[in-house]
Amino acid sequence: MLELYDGSLDVSDILKRWYEEEATSNYGAYIPFVGTVRSEDGIDGLSFDIYEPILKSWFEAWQQKAKAKGAVIKMAHSRGDVMLHESSYIASVFSPKRRVALEFIDEFVEDFKASAPIWKYDLIDGKRVYAKDRSTAIKGSGILGK
């Protein structure tokens, strides 16, 4: 399940709803990761662009990997502006046993950072500044260069 929202995430509502959705699915482990905007470098918040077609196919490939291990992934992400101390990202793994979920959440979030087509901007003095230094080129990038 992939959920995209305009603005910040209602973390309590999403985690509670996902918990209730799987409460009787016989999963022994539910491991959520919540990403929250921190105050640093004078930013007022962050802002995000998402390219949905490729995000959806990337997520679906991970869901198939999870399914092969008897697990399920749920993810929520913000579009647009998210201010300090609000949350922009939740990834959760449900699995029969804890080890699969612990390993999966780590692999999933790392690949999310490296591959998911989402662009981050710092909000500074009302301007949207691309977070170039914190961004990662997608694997296989650069084929159009000299």
Partner: protein, 73 residues
Amino acid sequence: MIRVEFLGPIQKEPLELEITNLNQLAKILQDDKEMTQWLDNSAVAVNDTLVSSLEAPLKDGDKVSLLPPVCGG
């Protein structure tokens, strides 16, 4: 006609080009000063599937997307 879209922070309007492969697109964009900072670090998708070489042929109506470095979360 091939539509070329520039995603995220690349501030460039889409192009409509009469090209038949990505090599031709590479040459066009290499001559575009606006694109200098993006070509070496952007991934390329054809019809929303990432590609790893310039050899893939393009056909009329295809969409090419350029994806600069990402940072979700």
